[in-house]
């Protein structure tokens, strides 16, 4: 019933508009009687109203417009010319139509409006001058009915009885079945035309209604539609007619308004900032401004909102056709169709949604026989759900099909070379499902003409991410799969956190932000630890990979440990972004970025700060992909190298500074521990320096002295511990620079005392330490047992 009311409402809106046009057209026609264009326009308007009124079972309206139409047909066909009586009677007809429409709007029915006199007048005009040709309207109805009657001849006979009862007594007996048959398809077309024109599908306009309610998603079956409309008592807005409460607005105008409101929000932010420092009156005024701006912003945003039903309206047909094509039985459920979204977003989710639905029907839901065998009802259920949650709109596509087997996904990922066996073994089932979103992934065993051509979920993800949304998947094998799209409410304005990095301000969309963690100033390096060269942070016991924004941007590292970790979540990974400091949370207006900067892939747009400065909005997905994917790729490379034992080529070395800007590489395999110790741990045995390490006296070698460089005296020493069996040597260096991969083939023979050569690491010439020599300098006996072993071998 609600849908029907909606149709009636739209019919009224459209008819009112058309009638205004009709008035001026008729008057214009009087002075230019021959204008076929005007006549055509008038004829179409009346024909549409007639068709729709028949469809909606407004008998009086139908009969009135029908006679009027007959008259217009004769005018159009040149059988009569426009004269004043004809114009008069046509205008009267228009008045009659108006009156009826008003009544329908007021009470939902046609009430007691009497159209008989007007009908008689029209007939008189018709008959008066054309007695010979068309004695009754019966005859003249033919040409109208003829063109449309043919294709739907069978529906006419079936639908006619249902309508018969509702035909009212005063209705002229003349128009018989032929007319009804004609109204049917006409009505269908008319409504179909009416619905989209008011919806997103008409590109130029959007409809503003006082109660933004969904227009009819689909044309209901003729039988349902033919039910009489029971007057629903007093309508809530009886005082205002449909045309008063709803207008058509050019979307460009709305966009312009939106932009201006965005500017206002910026100005408000600036004033709010000033007011924080200023006097109380300014603060008060600023607060009011803030409130009004927020409301205005919300209001303008609402005008662009449209129910998701606009996108869903095509789904039933699509699912039906798909199910038929795949020989499956599918029932479609749609919940929350009135959930509203910005129209640009609506447009953007259309394709991904279609893709997911196709997938669900084609791959998700099993054939009836398989379902029955699995103990499930033969008919599969596909449900679409839309709802608001946490400032986002969630759209779910759920099927009760066979689900996705994580093991199959894992096997596929390995087969396609996207992940290694070792990697998938370590992944949780939920993480395995995320692999579905990798480019070049498609699990369909066979390529059907519906889906499974390898353009898969990665396209869905890319499209959803492009509008600042996210997509994830839940699946239970045997029970079904749920795809979940998270979509921001609007594109233009979003809540964000502004952060500072290297004196520049950047905005991080709040959607991606989980929490902010200040680095522990007390702890060494702020609590940042390293796994090899990858920084991590212990966040409530879990290791969080860290990405330093300065490093990403190639800026110099920050001094001290004053930094904040913004814990960010993309749909696949969680990571911490190190920024210098966090400035504020505010609503930012997204400004498009020049196409010339899109290729960088790190920025989602730009925004203006309160002080007028431009700030870049970080693209968190892009950032993660750039910083983390490359790392994981590198890790994958490393681990695969481990697997294939190609270590001879690449060796990891510890790069240490030894003063005078010299760098020395120590093979990592020789290093057991790195220690930072106060200088007073060093003691002496004779002329040798020693230290106590793990309960034994360990010889110490100062690398700078061995290699002849000068380093500053410090309070703290950095010690590289080298262990062999139960013997250890402590090698003192100036600082630990990094751990890097050293390619043996790049080594140069160029060396010196205590060195085995040199190479270039990280763009710096680095000396390769002769570990044996260095260790022997501290503990000549260190390798003795090995020598003994060698002798033993020789002796045998």
């Amino acid at each position: 019933m609600e849908d029907l009311d909606e149709i009636v409402h739209e019919f009224l809106v459209e008819s009112h508009e058309n009638l205004d046009q009709l008035d001026s057209d008729l008057v214009a026609l009087e002075s230019a009687p021959g204008s076929r264009e005007l006549l055509g326009s008038v004829f179409r308007t009346i024909h549409t109203i007639k068709g729709t009124s028949g469809f909606l079972a407004f008998g009086k309206l139908e009969s009135l417009t029908h006679v009027g139409e007959n008259l217009l047909v004769e005018l159009r066909d040149g059988k009569r010319s426009m004269d004043q009586p004809t114009t008069d009677v046509l205008l009267r007809m228009v008045d009659g139509v108006r009156e009826l429409l008003r009544e329908i709007e007021r009470s939902g029915g046609e009430g007691s409006v009497d159209v008989a006199p007007t009908v008689r007048l029209l007939e008189a005009v018709l008959a008066g001058e054309h007695v010979s040709e068309a004695p009754t309207t019966d005859g003249s109805a033919q040409p109208v009915a003829q063109p449309v009657v043919e294709p739907v001849a069978e529906t006419a006979s079936e639908a006619a009885p249902a309508e018969e009862e509702q035909m009212e007594s005063e209705r002229a007996a003349a128009p018989e079945r032929a007319v009804k048959a004609a109204t049917k398809p006409a009505a269908k077309r008319a409504t179909k035309r009416a619905a989209p024109s008011a919806s997103a599908e008409m590109p130029g306009t959007t409809v503003l209604t006082e109660d933004p309610a969904p227009p009819a998603p689909e044309v209901p079956h003729p039988h349902e539609a033919s039910e009489p409309i029971t007057p629903s008592g007093e309508s809530e807005h009886a005082a205002r007619t449909a045309t008063d409460t709803s207008i058509r607005v050019d979307v460009d105008l709305l966009d312009a308004l939106m932009r201006q409101v965005s500017e206002l929000v910026l100005a408000r932010n600036a004033i709010a900032r000033l007011a924080n420092e200023g006097d109380i009156d300014l603060a008060r005024a600023s607060q009011r401004l803030s409130l009004i701006a927020s409301e205005l912003q919300e209001g303008v945003m609402k005008t662009r909102m449209q129910p998701i039903e606009h996108v869903w309206s095509k789904v039933p047909r699509m699912v039906r056709d798909l199910a038929a094509a795949c020989h499956k039985q599918v029932r479609l459920e749609m919940i929350g169709g009135d959930t509203e979204l910005d129209r640009s977003l609506l447009e953007a989710i259309k394709d991904p949604l279609t893709h997911l639905i196709r997938n669900a029907v084609d791959h998700g839901i099993e054939a009836a026989a398989d379902r029955t065998a699995a103990g499930k009802p033969a008919q599969g259920v596909l449900s679409l759900r839309a709802y608001h949650a946490g400032g986002q709109v969630i759209v779910e596509v759920n099927d009760d099909g066979k689900g996705i087997d994580p093991d199959v996904v894992a096997a596929k990922a390995v087969e396609k070379g996207l992940r290694t066996v070792a990697q998938v073994d370590q992944m949780a089932p939920a993480d395995l499902l995320q692999l579905l979103f990798l480019p070049g992934f498609s699990t369909a065993a066979t390529v059907t003409n519906v889906s499974g051509r390898g353009v898969g979920m990665d396209v869905v993800r890319t499209k959803i991410e492009a509008i600042g949304g996210a997509v994830d998947v839940d699946s239970t094998p045997g029970r079904g799969t749920t795809w979940r799209l998270r979509i921001p409410l609007t594109l233009a304005i979003m809540p964000a956190v502004t952060v500072e990095c290297d004196r520049q301000t950047y905005a991080i969309p709040q959607v991606s932000l989980l929490e902010l963690v200040a680095l522990d100033v007390e702890a060494e390096q702020g609590g940042v630890e390293y796994i090899r060269s990858a920084p991590v942070y212990r966040l409530r016991g879990d290791l969080l990979p860290l990405v330093d924004l300065r490093e990403v941007f190639g800026r110099p590292g920050r001094e001290g440990s004053h930094a904040t970790i913004a814990v960010l979540q993309t749909d696949t990974v969680r990571f911490g972004l190190l920024v210098d400091r966090v400035l504020n949370t505010e609503e930012i207006v997204v400004k498009p970025l020049s196409g010339r900067l899109k290729a960088i892939g790190l920025y989602a747009g730009a925004t203006l700060m309160g002080d007028g400065q431009v700030a870049l909005i970080l693209d968190i997905q892009g950032l993660a992909r750039r910083s983390l994917a490359s790392e994981s790729v590198e890790q994958a490379r490393r681990s695969s190298e481990d697997e294939h034992a190609v270590r001879a080529e690449v060796e990891q070395v510890l790069v240490a500074g030894i003063g005078d800007g010299r760098r020395v590489a120590i093979p990592l395999s020789a290093v057991t521990r790195l220690e930072r110790l106060p200088v007073d741990v060093l003691e002496h045995v004779g002329s040798r320096e020693v230290m106590q390490y793990r309960g034994s006296i360990t010889p110490v070698v100062r690398l700078d002295r061995v290699l002849g460089s000068m380093s500053d005296q410090r309070d703290e020493i950095v010690v590289v511990v080298y262990t062999r069996g139960d013997r250890a040597v402590a090698i003192v260096v100036d600082e630990i620079v990094d751990i890097v991969d050293d390619t043996v083939t790049q080594h140069s023979e160029l060396g010196d005392m205590g060195l085995v050569g040199s190479t270039v690491l990280k763009d710096r010439v680095t000396e390769l330490l002769d570990v044996r020599a260095a260790v022997a300098a501290a503990d000549p006996m260190f390798f003795d047992d090995e020598a003994a072993d060698a002798f033993a071998l020789v002796e045998v």
């Binding site: 800026r555 010339r596 900067l597 960088i600 431009v614």
Partner: protein, 141 residues
């Protein structure tokens, strides 16, 4: 056939772009640098609420950067319907030039610059080099 060129000065030489492409010329503003942007991108400026990309023409033309304390000017041009600000040393007059004064650049010009400089107009006192705005603002190398 005469046309009008909006002129500006870069490193002492005069350059011109079609005046119809020029939206406005104004004093330079604070620019927000764009990390990892192609070199030649001078940053982003706020032009009355619009975020506009700034291109350092000196860099594009292979000239040394402007002295630290010098204030460049901005010439905002429309390229593919998008405003782009060009950083120049000084803004000059709009000059009427005739096709007869035009000559293509000499073969001795660096090929990279030949892309950008379509030719020179021989003015009585100096040469006015005509700049291809499209190429000059294209993905900076």
């Amino acid at each position: 056939m005469s046309r009008q060129l909006a002129t500006f000065v870069l490193g002492g030489a005069h350059y011109g772009v079609d005046v119809l492409l020029v939206q406005e010329a104004l004093r330079s503003q604070d620019r927000t640098p764009v990390p990892l942007a192609p070199s030649g991108v001078a940053g982003l400026v706020n032009l009355r609420g619009e975020v506009v990309l700034s291109i350092d023409l000196r860099h594009r033309l292979g000239l040394a950067p402007l002295a630290e304390d010098a204030e460049p000017m901005m010439v905002v041009v429309q390229v593919d319907g998008e405003p782009i600000s060009l950083l120049v040393d000084e803004v000059g007059d709009v000059i009427d030039v005739a096709e007869s004064q035009f000559e293509t650049p000499p073969d001795t010009l660096d090929p990279a610059l030949r892309e950008l400089i379509v030719g020179a107009y021989k003015l009585p006192t100096s040469l006015l080099m005509a700049l291809d705005v499209q190429k000059a603002t294209a993905q900076a190398a």
